[in-house]
Subunit: 213 residues, 2 copies
Amino acid sequence: MKIGVLGTGAAGQTVAEKLIALGHDVMMGARSADNEKVLGFAQRTGGRAGTFADASAHGEMVINCTRGDTSLAMLSGLAAELRGKVLIDVANPLDFSQGFPPHLTVSNTDSLAEQIQRALPGTFVVKSLNTVNAAVMIEPSRVPGPHTVFVSGNDQKAKGKVMDFLRSLGWQSIIDLGDITSARAAEQLLPLWVRLYSALGNNAIFNIAVMEA
Amino acid sequence: MKIGVLGTGAAGQTVAEKLIALGHDVMMGARSADNEKVLGFAQRTGGRAGTFADASAHGEMVINCTRGDTSLAMLSGLAAELRGKVLIDVANPLDFSQGFPPHLTVSNTDSLAEQIQRALPGTFVVKSLNTVNAAVMIEPSRVPGPHTVFVSGNDQKAKGKVMDFLRSLGWQSIIDLGDITSARAAEQLLPLWVRLYSALGNNAIFNIAVMEA
């Protein structure tokens, strides 16, 4: 599948390399096409390099791995390139300006995913994978047991495509939390994630499992 | 142990009855001493009935099971009765005025537990058990597997007492999230809890397990 990966940080690099390994036609997008990290990715993996707009146009499915505090402004300019496509929003709206632990820049009665969906009404935004570290996103078996990943979005068919995609990454326990407003719940897990990261001795390779009677 | 249970709702009743069964000397507190539910509790279980102030004075340990939107105002008047004691805060600051799912009345950069700690500087506030249904609080084995409960508080000794108390209820996986500001993380789990409740078919007997590599 043609996939666009937006963002060149740890999440973008990790996800894009995994998708290359799975045989997808991946273009990584950055602010500018001559960005060193995106060129390095292309050279290292044989994948494609481009701008955010190029990668959005390239992908049948597009994954937002940009920083949560910059995602909305960047994506708002890509309505044409992303129209009719599934956009998986992996970003978290974290503000580290007050130090660690960060707080959320939007929460409780709104979420980054909802802001993005409002900015891109012709795109099928699905929040997912934002609750785990990049290494766990693409290789869930690194954490033992049947731990859980969530999806939130307004379109069932789009969520179905994302769930198939998640299964291709190795995810077994996938819970549909509801429409895009349920992304509030997934994003509000981040404050717990950062506390657990500390409590577990700065171990990022963990996740939660939903256990029911 | 002498324990005060504040609140006569599902959480208060369930917790107080369990503590009676475990052999504790329990007083349930309500707004007025002639409250029907608190008198019913005393009649049914042989426990004690009183006001919020009576139950706070009675307990060596006190558990706040009142509704999150009324807890702070009520507890603020009990500084004398609660001085030097461990107060387990089980409440969640949920606002159902806009319907289901509820949002939080305080979150992200503050929490109900912190508000209570500020109002009661002489009390050792420990946030715990707020992330599960009352039936799971007192009988964690109803959910299969080694699922997790959290503690947050400023005083290690107080948290140690609460962890002992949790073990006496059957909890095996207990994670110390940090000081009282980490209660933000535990309270911000509630938006996920209510979404999972719906996603699991209105099943409240569930919890999350923290799984690490």
